[in-house]
């Protein structure tokens, strides 16, 4: 009875056959890998440049603009530039790119990575939103603006940050939760002896 499945599998009329030009294959694989590496280096460079610009602009501001509150506010934002890059770098370390692991281990590692990414977005308020928000608010307070001007400025910054927060919440709900659920199902299914 069970062997019927094997027999059906073996008795297939059409066969898709892969032809590989082995002399070209290795050089093609090499050039593809170099291309990927270049793209990763470019992306990393962009992140570093953005962080350096933020740190330089706000750091210079902290040095030049008078007033204690302004200096504190700008220093917080300058440090935030570095912190964001560090957090993102750290998250990338967990990317499961060792595909030669046994499937059971790979699934667990992939789940860990997804959960870390999800937590990063869930906690976006602490590492991405609050530091620049607090920095900006302190800076605005130090600018000796009128009370209505101060409130309007803070409300605008609050609105922008609230929007960023909502976008991240949406990404967790729409993208990461279903992925983690799928991964949990795969792991459970893998470990169960029932089919």
């Amino acid at each position: 009875m069970e062997n019927e499945i094997d027999s059906i599998w073996l008795n297939r009329a059409k066969e898709e056959v892969v032809k590989i030009d082995t002399t070209k294959l290795l050089s093609e694989l090499d050039s593809q890998l170099k291309c990927f590496d270049r793209n990763i280096k470019k992306r990393n460079l962009r992140e570093y440049i953005a962080a350096i610009i933020v740190t330089l602009v706000f750091g210079t501001g902290a040095f030049l603009i008078p007033g204690l509150f302004s200096k504190i506010g700008l220093t917080i934002v300058a440090l935030y530039g570095i912190m964001v890059v560090m957090v993102l770098r750290n998250a990338n370390k967990y990317k499961p790119d060792n595909y030669s692991l046994p499937t059971s281990e790979y699934l667990v590692k992939h789940r860990e990575y997804l959960v870390k990414e999800r937590n990063l977005l869930k906690n976006v308020i602490f590492w991405y939103i609050l530091p620049p928000f607090v920095g900006c608010v302190i800076f605005i307070i130090g600018q000796n603006r009128t009370f209505p001007q101060m409130i309007i400025s803070i409300l605008i910054i609050f609105g922008i940050n609230a929007f960023i927060y909502m976008l991240n919440k949406y990404a967790v709900k729409k993208y990461f939760n279903p992925l983690v659920k799928k991964m949990d199902e795969a792991i459970n299914e893998f470990n169960s002896t029932e089919c």
Binding site: M1, I8, K14, E16, K19, I20, T22, Y99, A186, F190
Partner: protein, 172 residues
């Protein structure tokens, strides 16, 4: 990279390419998708080759990469992730050299559809089995015990058998 390792890699690819492609076919929506997935498997195997430690056979190692890439692709299928790999040294040809009756071909197509509908991990285990890998190798690839693999295969086959039953009866 060591020349010896390169030769081992090429030999392993040559020996397993059709099986790996059939694997990719069952995790893909169409032939183009399968080709992309196959190329991704080759690229990632090549990338991981320096870390190959001879602790398992290169075939086992290759199947591990194939399954993990296929499972990852399936998880991200909803995101329509774009694949960038384009290898011109690979071509896929259709051959129909076996003299198979129409009835058997219908059965094979139905079986293939049923396998495609299985969940990712069950699919990989039954495909490894149908491609002729022994339980011991499937256990090494998946990280399950041999007994667990045997139980899973038996149950998956029963499910497939149940799905094929109406057609089988029709054919008789």
């Amino acid at each position: 990279m060591e020349k010896e390792l390169e030769t081992i890699f090429l030999k392993a690819i040559e020996a397993n390419k059709d099986k790996i492609f059939r694997f990719c076919r069952h995790y893909s929506t169409d032939a183009d998708d399968a080709r992309d997935l196959f190329q991704e498997v080759l690229l990632n195997s090549w990338k991981s080759l320096p870390s190959f430690k001879y602790q398992s056979s290169i075939d086992t190692w290759l199947y591990r990469i194939t399954i993990n890439i296929c499972l990852r692709a399936k998880k991200y299928s909803d995101q329509k992730q774009r694949r960038f790999v384009k290898l011109e040294s690979i071509s896929i040809e259709n051959i129909a050299e076996k003299d198979i009756t129409e009835e058997k071909e219908i059965l094979f197509n139905r079986l293939s559809e049923c396998i495609k509908m299985l969940e990712g991990v069950d699919k990989s285990i039954i495909l490894l089995h149908l491609e002729g890998l022994p339980y011991k190798d499937i256990a090494r690839i998946s990280g399950l015990t041999e007994n667990h693999v045997a139980v899973k295969i038996k149950r998956i086959k029963n499910r497939l058998q149940t799905s094929l039953k109406p057609l089988n009866n029709y054919g008789k």
